[in-house]
Amino acid sequence: MKKGIAAAPGTGVGRAAILQQRVVPHICAGADPVVPGTLDNELERFRRGRAVAVEYYRSLVERVRTSAGEEEAEIFEGHLEILTGEDLEEAVEEAIGTRHVAAEAAIRAFAVETAREFEELDSEYFRQRAGDIRDIGDRLAEAVYFGSIADSETLAEESVVVAEELTPSATARLDTDRVVAIATEKGGRTSHAAILARALSIPCVTGVEGLVRSVRNGQWLVVDGDAGTVETDVDPDRDRELLKRLAERRQAERDRAEQRRAWSREHEARTADGTSVSLAANVSGTTEAALARELGVHGSGLVRSEFFFMRFSDFPAVEQQVAEYREICRILAPHPVVIRLLDCGADKPLPYARQKQEDNPFLGERGIRLLMNRPEQLRAQVEAISRVAQEGYAIKLMVPMVVTPEEVLAVRDLVTYRDLPVGMMVETPASVLALDRFTETGIVDFVSIGSNDLVQYVMAVDRGNAAVAHLSEELHPAVLAAIAQVVRLAHGAGIPVGVCGDMASRPDTALALLALGVDSLSAGISAVPEVKAAISVVTTRELQELGEVLRTAPDAATARAATAVLADKCPAPWEQEVQ
């Protein structure tokens, strides 16, 4: 058993595939002088090799763009810039001209020196870039010496990739479908391989000393990306049972995940006595919308539009927003999609919004307040949503962080399509206490409780602060009273109430919300099957009885206990159906 750094979670079992990079012979890597008179030749070799390397990196950029996305591709564009940049060229010319070394040695010396400079920087991110520089140098030296750069050999199915260091270029070439785990000698949690492994959900352990030396190609390995260990002492005969068990467990995990999705897709959210419940999913973009659809949801009760905005370096134009919102609606059609207006500020800063430093950001310029101070951006977003509504999609607009009716009216004034439903989030004590000012005046078509912020503001507690986190209690009588009041006032005016916070994303609290009379839930994608299952085993009568208890519970413990009785009725139904 070898110990390293847990870089990406999960367990992978497979046969070692040691990644070898072609090694440029030592004579070229050392400082052996070139015969004088051949200097022009060395420069020429450098230029020819670099042209080969440039072509290679260009193809890498394209390959990575399709396999891993634009962000990854841009990193290799940076490497391309370094490869063609003035620093490298000047250093190589200098070394060849004055020290009379071979082109490969000049490249190596430059890469080693530059890597050393990076290793001395304060930031862990920049220290890790030393490996990138060595990689660029090695590939360039390879191109000079061999006249080409070797592509990765074909990996066997279920390979555990073993390398001294998984360089960015090597990682980009990996056929990741065949990789069950990655183990490297060098690198930490922020090395390129670790970042990519986490993005691709491949278990990864880095920083394992002496790994490559002690492993043979094809040898069985068990990589535990949670514990940060690599088990090398695996004998396929002796440990046949263990390997079989691990392989079975992996397969079982995959099967179970698929069964869970399938169960969710094939079952409607319906109580045991047949009452249909509107269960939607919270999504932050088109990818999540597609995942949500696979789970069988009633649209989205919360599209976090700020995630779309964060992909840009300035406020996106109306057309760009229209395209995004339309695509989400198209994916989830015919079900309704609620777009929440840009909800930035406090814990979700938007760099280009250029907000002033605030002493108390959670009581500062966040949610609709930020947009009210940027009227052009508010207008653009409302117009984009209006346009998609006009095209006939079931889209709704929701205003976050509301405290006064003027905020909702300001948004309404900008709506360019009359039939676009406009609603508000209820997440401030002001909006709970004076909700009738919104519901009785007909300015909102729906309300949705943002339970995370509501709990934070009602209880006056930051749940991220360990010293006070225990006071962040969703079933505290004050929170339950707030929710009950919202339901009473909204229903009194014939307006439906949804919940789109964490409370809707856990089986027990989701049932508590239904018990209090909430009409619809919008849960996080990962929670949809469990919430749906919890709903499927309770009856309307049981929910009513729970509602009575919650409305009069003397304390949170009583409310928790009563809720747990119902929530615990629910095992995972997808597992039962298998057996």
Binding site: G78, E81, E86, D87, T114, F118, R129, P351, Y352
Partner: protein, 98 residues
């Protein structure tokens, strides 16, 4: 010549991607751009030198725009001021010229 101290607001500082964008912008400007952090200075067109400054979010950096001088021979010219504006918009807000 025009000098200005700017706080780097970009979450990633000048990591590989944003630094490469910086270089692309600097190469397109009519002035020579340099960037200084502490006592070290890098040419605005060298990705490696910029990355070796190790610039992270919140760092104060000094940007130097060096073009032709203004009419009186000393004050900053319009092209220097415009270049500085472009650099400032990128470092502070991640804005890139279209």
């Amino acid at each position: 010549m025009l000098e200005e101290t700017i706080e780097v607001m970009n979450e990633e500082g000048l990591h590989t991607r944003p630094a490469n964008r910086f270089v692309r912008i600097a190469k397109g400007l009519p002035c020579k751009i340099a960037i200084r952090k502490g006592d070290r200075e890098a040419s605005g067109t060298s990705l490696l030198k910029i990355m070796k400054l190790g610039i992270v979010q919140g760092d104060m950096v000094t940007v130097i725009c060096d073009g032709s001088n203004g009419a009186d021979g000393t004050s900053a010219s319009a092209e220097e001021q415009q270049s500085m504006e472009t650099i400032r918009a990128f470092l502070r807000e991640g804005k890139e010229p279209v």
